[in-house]
Amino acid sequence: MTYTVAVLTALEHTQTGDDELVTAAIAGDQDAFGELFLRHKRMVAAIGGRFFPRREQIEEVIQMSFYQAYVALRQYQGGQTHSFAAWLKRITVNTCLDELRKLQRRNENLISDLSEPETASLLEAMWDDPSAERRTVSRDLANKLLSRLEPEDRLALTLLYEDEWTVVEIGELLGWSVSKVKGRTHKARKHLQRAMKRFR
């Protein structure tokens, strides 16, 4: 009987909109929050994957993002201003920024410039079609290079290139002014330009 009720509740949740699920979750319905988690965890993981290459790092982003969403659930305004997915996306991007800052603090003394062989390997992997093993190595090297950027710079640059968002959209997402987004991306591009010149 209990099992039947649980199945019926789960079926009911799969057909419910995000806003209704949020309302139910605020009222104490754990299944509703679970359904929101199921629906959006892939999106959150994809955003985390743009900044963090390793599985455990992405899992941490998923957990922290949904934790922050849970804490702020009452502040969600509903679909009138933004959809739940857009709201969660904003939380996730900010979580990624926090994690990038943590990572930078931890690795402050460990980050060094790429050596010549590392540079050659990275360039070859970026412009050729590398094997799976070399792709992993080049991914780590690319992250090593990007980790020299300020977390805010890296975030803005990634959103600009990876998602092809405009500076206005990035500003809205992060709550930054347009000039701040432009300044951050400019700084990041300049840094990478210096690196590129050194490579070539």
Binding site: A25, G28, D29, Q30, F33, G34, F37, L38, K41, R42, V44, A45, A46, G48, G49, R50, F51, F52, P53, R54, R55, E56, I58, E59, E60, I62, Q63, F66, Y67, Y70, V71, L122, A125, M126, W127, R135, S138, R139, A142, N143, L145, L146, L157, T158, Y161, E162, H186, A188, R189, L192, Q193, M196
Partner: protein, 237 residues
């Protein structure tokens, strides 16, 4: 005063391509993303984190599911709690009053027994668990990573010398939790290093931590491989 004007940035196509390729190269693969999204017990670990970090009142449904069951969950309504508390206090007061005013004499034998100093009794020491692996750990994580952990713990056990009865042997420890993927863990060797770290570090592994204790220091044994990589960790109390 000279007015500073910003010239529009010239488009550097080569730099754009470089940035685009670099960011594309740095991102996680689809496999990694899917594996992370579908990691076992991810939702359970999230609930454990919420329960650990939130005040009990703020997370009504977590409290209901993980700690108290539906009965107390129903009673988590503040009105009910106050009513129950007031009733309990009234009952205790009534019982105390009745006991103090009861006229039934206490038997002499019982009085003497009460007045005699009780011999000092030392509680027998709690039986030590046979191996660290038999001690309790969060069941969800235990299920998740059993295979790697068992292999790692087994390999470490065989490398340890027989323990003298020290403080360590009376410790309670979690199972070893793998920190990284270890292929053929039987063939790996390493050393166990005892470290102290903030309790909040346990959160990173999905272990529940009381919000008030996050600032405390906790002991941990870290298995460090020959290559210097930390392979697994267990927390010790």
């Amino acid at each position: 005063m000279k007015k500073i004007t910003h010239q529009p940035e010239e488009r550097d196509v080569g730099l754009d391509e470089f940035c685009f390729d670099l960011i594309k190269t740095a991102r996680a693969s689809e496999q990694e993303i899917n594996a992370a999204a579908n990691a076992p017990f991810l939702y359970s670990r999230l609930l454990a984190r919420i329960a650990a970090e939130q005040e009990p009142r703020a997370s009504a449904f977590v409290e209901k599911e993980t700690h108290q069951g539906w009965t107390l969950g129903f009673l988590s309504n503040w009105g009910w709690n106050w009513a129950l508390g007031a009733t309990a206090v009234a009952l205790i007061a009534l019982g105390g009053w009745y006991w103090l005013n009861s006229s039934s004499p206490v038997p002499v034998a019982v009085k003497q027994q009460v007045q005699q100093p009780t011999p000092e009794v030392t509680a027998p020491p709690a039986p030590l668990p046979e191996t660290p692996n038999q001690m309790s750990a969060p069941s969800q994580i235990a299920k998740n990573k059993t295979a790697v952990r068992t292999k790692l713990a087994a390999s470490i056990r065989t490398k340890r010398t027989l323990p003298v009865l020290t403080e360590e042997s009376t410790e309670i420890a979690t199972d070893y939790l793998p920190l990284t993927y270890v292929a053929n863990s039987d063939e790996r060797s390493g050393q166990v290093v005892r470290v102290e770290m903030p309790r909040s570090a346990m959160l990173a592994l999905g272990l529940p931590v009381n919000n008030e204790q996050t600032g405390e220091v906790v002991k941990a044994d870290v298995i460090v491989g020959d290559d210097g990589l930390a392979l697994a960790i267990r927390f010790v109390r």
